[in-house]
């Protein structure tokens, strides 16, 4: 393993650890009443967001889901503004109006988390269409969960993406669950066969392994970028937490819950890094750096002011208020 390779891996590790740490922190903030609403954590799924985003350019776009913190962070949203948003402050990336399910930063192509299951797919489709029509070589990524596969928007979007050879990468994060039900009790098709039906190249990889994710994503994004049309990626993964924070998860067996740790993408990557000669102390230092950043962001968010409703009215429209 080369030094360069190692540096890249460390960067991925840092990205994944950032998501982990942010979300663990959010879990505690939520439990303490400092984060209102409901939040869906992607703990256990960090390798996907990180691996996919690692091959994206700033002008590439992505549309995300209700479980979108990781996607936003991996695409590079500002940590302070992220925490401020979830903690309902004026300084939030959405000025406290969107919250967890709507984190967005249009300036870096993060088109928003989305509270409507299945909506990320056609929104990303439209973004890919814009790239194509505008003649730029940017790529759009549609993140969606396995449960979202049951929505008709997947079908409509697979078709249009293939029909128009759009620079669109479909990314299914298959964690086996749709809320409180195993997705197998809801959706019978396999995504590979679906993709095949539309003539779209498909690739599956282990969503715990950030390198596998990154490599598969690289191939898909490269193809999409070079005019070869859409690609479908499916990453198997594990949802470590409840559907949302506060979910007692009675529907999951104690056995499943107790074995989740085996699938931890951070642990897997750590042991790999150690094997390549990285020292545990180095990792620890890196983690501490992230911890400090996260804690500082939380502190700053706590000090952030409450948003002003009346001021916000001006943003319902760009050009003018309604009658």
């Amino acid at each position: 393993m080369t030094m360069r390779k190692n540096a890249e891996l460390l960067e991925l590790y840092e990205g994944m650890y950032l998501i982990r740490q942010v979300e663990l922190r959010l879990g505690r903030l939520f439990a303490d009443g400092e984060v209102p609403g409901f939040i869906h954590l992607s703990i256990g799924q960090e390798a996907i967001a990180t691996g996919v985003a690692s091959v994206l350019r700033p002008d590439d776009t992505l549309a995300s889901t209700h479980r979108g913190h990781g996607h936003a962070l991996a695409k590079g949203v500002d940590l302070d503004r992220f925490f401020m948003e979830l903690m309902a402050r004026e300084g939030g990336m959405c000025k406290g109006r969107g919250g967890s399910m709507h984190v967005a930063d249009l300036s870096i192509g993060m088109l928003g988390a989305n509270a409507i299951v299945g909506a990320s797919i056609p929104i990303a489709l439209g973004s890919a269409l814009a790239h194509q029509v505008r003649g730029v070589d940017a790529v759009a990524v549609a993140f969606f969960g396995d449960g979202a596969m049951a929505e008709g928007t997947l079908h409509e979007s697979l078709n249009m993406a293939a029909l128009w050879k759009l620079p669109l990468v479909f990314v299914c994060e298959n964690n086996g669950w749709a809320e409180f039900s195993p997705t197998s009790t809801q959706f019978v098709a396999a995504l590979d066969k679906l993709a095949k039906a539309f003539g779209i190249a498909y690739e599956k990889a282990d969503g715990r392994d950030v390198q596998a994710v990154s490599k598969a994503s690289e191939r898909a994004v490269k193809a999409a970028r070079s005019g070869k049309g859409p690609r479908v990626l499916e990453f198997t993964t594990h949802r470590f937490r409840g559907h949302y924070e506060g979910d007692p998860q009675k529907y999951r067996s104690a056995d499943e819950l107790s074995r989740l740790g085996e699938h931890d993408p951070l642990v897997l990557l750590e042991s790999q890094l150690i094997k390549t000669g990285v020292m545990e102390a180095e990792l620890k230092h890196l983690r501490e750096g992230v911890d400090v950043r996260v804690e500082a962001a939380v502190e700053r968010a706590r000090r952030g002011g409450a948003p002003d409703f009346e001021a916000g009215r001006a943003d319902v429209y760009t050009q003018m208020g309604a009658a």
Binding site: G96, R97, H102, I116, A150, S181, F309
Partner: protein
């Protein structure tokens, strides 16, 4: 007579309907095995087996399936998890369910119910908080109900399920935990009948759903100040009880309409327009509305609080009417 929560009253109504009519069939996302995200269907799958069914995340097809099922001998009750997702069911409700009877020359009825929660107050954000009942009230062929307490929830839901026509049954999520009396043999409440919750001679305030409680709070405070407010709970939005409103107006000569939905083009607009016409000679003051501003429902608790109509706004409006 017992105290039960609003959610439990819904549950009891569903259970009794399932018990008494083998044609009743419940389906929706996560309603069976885990009993629904708000617990409204808890225990029903255990008791009624496959007549209470979990579904994939496919709202558009589910709603049209309800139409097909209703035309083929079932009385389907579909749960749409948040009213914001009713956006996905509009073809089924508006083009199919609402029209089938008239458009087929009166051959058939479409006895289906869509239960769905609306309303804010839990920081669920712009895509999980909307009150869209005015849309459905605008569609000939649909009925729209919105109870404000457990007894009404039970009684109206029984009516909705027994009703031969398609009903949109709206449950304000802030009410699920609310407690209220329910008779041993709970009353069935007819569709289209308002109820006077409090008598008063100075102003008539018409409301429905959770907003009723804001109005009641305001009325108590106003009573201390010597203003007697008559509080009308519409319960049924389409059809709505024009006679009851007129009757009250003929005594108070002042009318205020209060709801949580957006004011512009909302339910209150029709009531104001209609009563402004037929009650013109009775009016000693303009008809006022207290409702949400023309802004999406924001996430931050402070914003949401500023957004939602409250007792203070009702008090101010009543004072203005009586000035």
């Amino acid at each position: 007579m017992a105290e039960v929560r609003f959610g439990k009253a819904i549950n009891l109504a569903l259970a009794d309907a399932l018990e008494q009519d083998p044609a009743v069939f419940l389906f929706g996302e996560d309603i069976a095995t885990v009993g629904g995200p708000f617990g409204a269907t808890r225990g029903l799958h255990e008791r009624f087996g496959d007549r209470v069914r979990d579904t994939p995340i496919s709202e558009a097809a589910l709603a049209n399936a309800a139409v097909g099922a209703a035309l083929s001998g079932l009385k389907p009750v579909l749960e749409i998890m948040f009213m914001d997702f009713m956006t996905l069911t509009m073809d089924a409700l508006v083009n199919q369910a609402a029209k089938a009877r008239y458009m087929f020359g009166g051959q058939a009825s479409v006895p289906m119910v869509v239960r769905t929660p609306h309303g804010g107050g839990i920081s669920a954000g712009p895509q999980h908080s909307q009150c869209l009942e005015a849309w459905f009230a605008h569609v000939p062929g649909l009925k729209v109900l919105c109870p404000s307490n457990p007894a009404d929830a039970y009684g109206l839901l029984r009516s909705a399920i027994a009703d031969p026509d398609p009903v949109v049954f709206v449950e304000n999520k802030a009410l699920y935990a609310m407690k209220g009396e329910l008779l041993e043999q709970p009353e069935i409440i007819p569709i289209g009948k308002a109820r006077i919750l409090r008598q008063g001679s100075d102003v008539t305030v018409v409301s429905y759903g959770a907003a009723v409680h804001i109005v009641e709070r305001a009325a108590s405070q106003l009573a201390e100040q010597g203003l007697e407010v008559e509080v009308l709970d519409l319960r049924s939005i389409q059809p709505w009880d024009e006679a009851a409103v007129m009757e009250s107006l003929s005594r108070t000569h002042r009318l205020l309409i209060v709801h949580e939905a957006v004011e512009a083009f909302g339910v209150g607009a029709e009531i104001a327009a209609r009563i402004g016409e037929v009650g013109f000679d009775e009016l000693d003051a303009p008809i006022l509305r207290v409702a949400a501003p023309f802004v999406p429902v924001p996430f931050a608790p402070s914003l949401e609080k500023a957004y939602q109509p409250d007792a203070e706004a009702v008090i101010a409006a009543v004072r203005k009417l009586c000035a």
